[in-house]
């Protein structure tokens, strides 16, 4: 088979159509292509929110969204309707961006987790309000430039996956589009579990992070290799690192992006220390319970 034919065959099987309204190099369509390979066609995707929706509009399973400030809530209703109809053959996925998940609808995600709704909640994390034009969110990392933090963000990123894990839900995982096998395995696992599952995905954003769109996967791979974006899962309270690379200096990840270019040597060292400490902690708890 020639190359084109292979692509065509693959495209036919894919559950996302080309021609999304996403920026070049956006990790969103990439994420959904991989996620839907794991989820399959018997899936309903609930979610809105500008950036994430640019990709969701092109996916080929039923979708329903209300507005950016509505996270997990409508999915709760959809899951309840399915339960009322005795339909347990359908996976309900709720998707939201980082601003929706960590800021305006944080209470909603937390409450749905507490109720242990039978849905997969996904955070599409490009680390700022990108669709409105790059404004700081609760998931923007320390030091990152945005239009509302022109001198760099003063406070660290919220640890949402760990906060969700402390809700004692059955499954939490971080994923990256640079690690497709890991991503798909985690989503497939989530699909097989009843109750509230939380998947937190980094989504490279050339527009907001300031780098060449061709380098999207490269940049987020660096994120994992420098431990800025550790890949782990928490299953029934037990934390397990799924990728344990030899740590590269954080500077490599930071300097690949324009949003960190203004950082001073001291600031970079501070970030390095924090990343090191977090890595130590994660390695220490690898394979152990983090629910105390």
């Amino acid at each position: 088979m020639d190359k084109e034919k292979i692509f065509e065959e693959h495209y036919k099987r894919s559950l996302i159509r080309a021609g999304t309204a996403c920026c070049p190099g956006c990790g969103g369509p990439l994420f959904w292509r991989m996620a839907l390979e794991a989820l399959g066609p018997r899936t309903i995707v609930y979610g809105d929110g500008p950036c994430a929706y640019c990709a969701i509009r092109n996916i080929l399973v039923p979708t329903f969204g209300i507005h950016f400030s509505f996270v997990a809530d409508g999915a709760t209703g959809i899951a309840a309707a399915l339960a009322a109809k005795g339909r347990n053959d359908i996976t309900v996925v709720s998707s939201a961006g980082d601003g929706a998940t960590a800021d305006i609808s944080f209470n909603k995600v937390s409450a749905a987790a507490e109720r242990n709704e039978n849905i997969i909640q996904i955070c599409i994390d490009n680390e700022a309000y990108m669709n409105t034009g790059i404004q700081k969110s609760g998931l923007t990392p320390f030091g990152a430039w945005t239009t509302t933090t022109p001198r760099g963000k003063e406070t660290p990123k919220k640890r949402i996956p760990m906060i969700l894990a402390q809700h004692r839900i059955p499954y939490v995982a971080t994923v990256s589009v640079a690690y497709p096998a890991d991503l798909k395995a985690k989503i497939a696992k989530a699909k097989g579990i009843r109750g509230f599952k939380y998947i937190h995905s980094v989504i490279p954003c050339p527009t907001g992070w300031r780098f060449d769109p061709a380098k999207s996967v490269e940049v987020v791979r660096l994120g994992v290799q420098t431990w800025a974006w550790p890949l782990y899962e928490v299953e029934n309270g037990i934390m397990r690192l799924t990728v344990k690379p030899k740590a590269r200096p954080i500077e490599e990840y930071l300097m690949a992006q324009g949003r960190f270019r203004h950082l001073t040597r001291e600031e970079i060292e501070l970030i390095q220390r924090e990343v090191d400490e977090e890595r130590q902690r994660l390695l220490e708890y690898d394979g152990k319970s983090i629910i105390h």
């Binding site: 309903i44 209300i66 999915a75 209703g77 959809i78 399915l82 009322a84 109809k85």
Partner: protein, 397 residues
Amino acid sequence: MSFTRMMEGNEAAAWGVKLSRVEVIPVYPITPQTELISAIASMIASGEMKAQYIKVEGEHTAMAAAIGASAAGARVFTSSAAQGIVYMEEALWMPPGMRLPIVMCIVNRALAPLGGLRPDHNDSLLQRDTGWIQLYCENSQEVLDTIIQAYRIGEDKRVYLPVAVCYDGYFVSATATPVTVPDQEEVDRFLPPYKHELYSLMPEDYRRPQWGTNIAKARYEVQKAMERAKWVIEEVDSGYKASFGRGYDGLLEEYSCEDAEAVLITMGSMTGTARDVIDEMRGEGKRIGLVKMRCFRPFPSEELREMAKRYHAIGVVDRNTSYGSAGGGIIAVEAARALYPLDDRPLLLDFHVGLGGSDVTMRQIRYMADRVLEALDRGRIEEEVEWVELIDLGEVM
């Protein structure tokens, strides 16, 4: 089997929900609605009612979950009051535009800061522009009957709009009046299972209405649906009367209006008190009647116009405020627009009363009725808008 017993409004509402075979109920507690959601919780816990009962973390989520469930094909119920309704506001705009026939009880309660726990109508009337049908009930029986009717109305494909069933906190929600609970099989005959022709989120049969880019056209569709709702409400109410022997005259009920030259228009629980006052005045030979506004949205303009040909003075009782309005409360402003095209317009008086849930007394109603008759006699209005509670009417009775 049908049976009759004393029941508070909230309990009657729970029976209405049960008899309507609601499938999904996302709710959040707020006084004076809480007895309703606890009554439903008990019915589900005891196994006499089957529904997915979701104890959400706020009213915004309650409505959002209702939207998701309704789009996914389930019959949905929720309820709230006052601050809860206002907190829900962002979500309230969605079901009409999405054409989802959710039914919600608004147990009327005055809004903060100049409110309290007791009822006035600002919480529901504030939602008048969202596209929700609004029906107001006078007593427990009407609450039960109206919930069943509301599903028939909203789920009618000529309508496909959400319906708010409003009733006054405490005066209706916590006051026991006799209620006849109809037989489930009879209700099943009256109310077929929910099936939305425009929606299915199921992967094997996925469809959703597409609004396109002509927003004005989509909004006009909602407006037309609202207009069609008027005769669907009438039709459903007379159908209900034929099946169950009780009806509410559709949009407006005229009480003791034979040969009347003037009327008072009331809404909600105060109507019961007003009936007694009108009876008394009729006994004195006064030619005044009572009109109960059962349906505020869609606003019964034509019906009001038709009445105005018979009544030369109309007094509107507004249990709400609309600061800086064109003149008076919300109902009066709407009524003025409805009556404006008439060549021979009646005198229109407006009264603010019962604000923040204070009692609307017989003496106050008598005062308002007298003022309307006075205007009729003089052929002119002294004061267009009066704040009745600021007038010293002597001892409360």
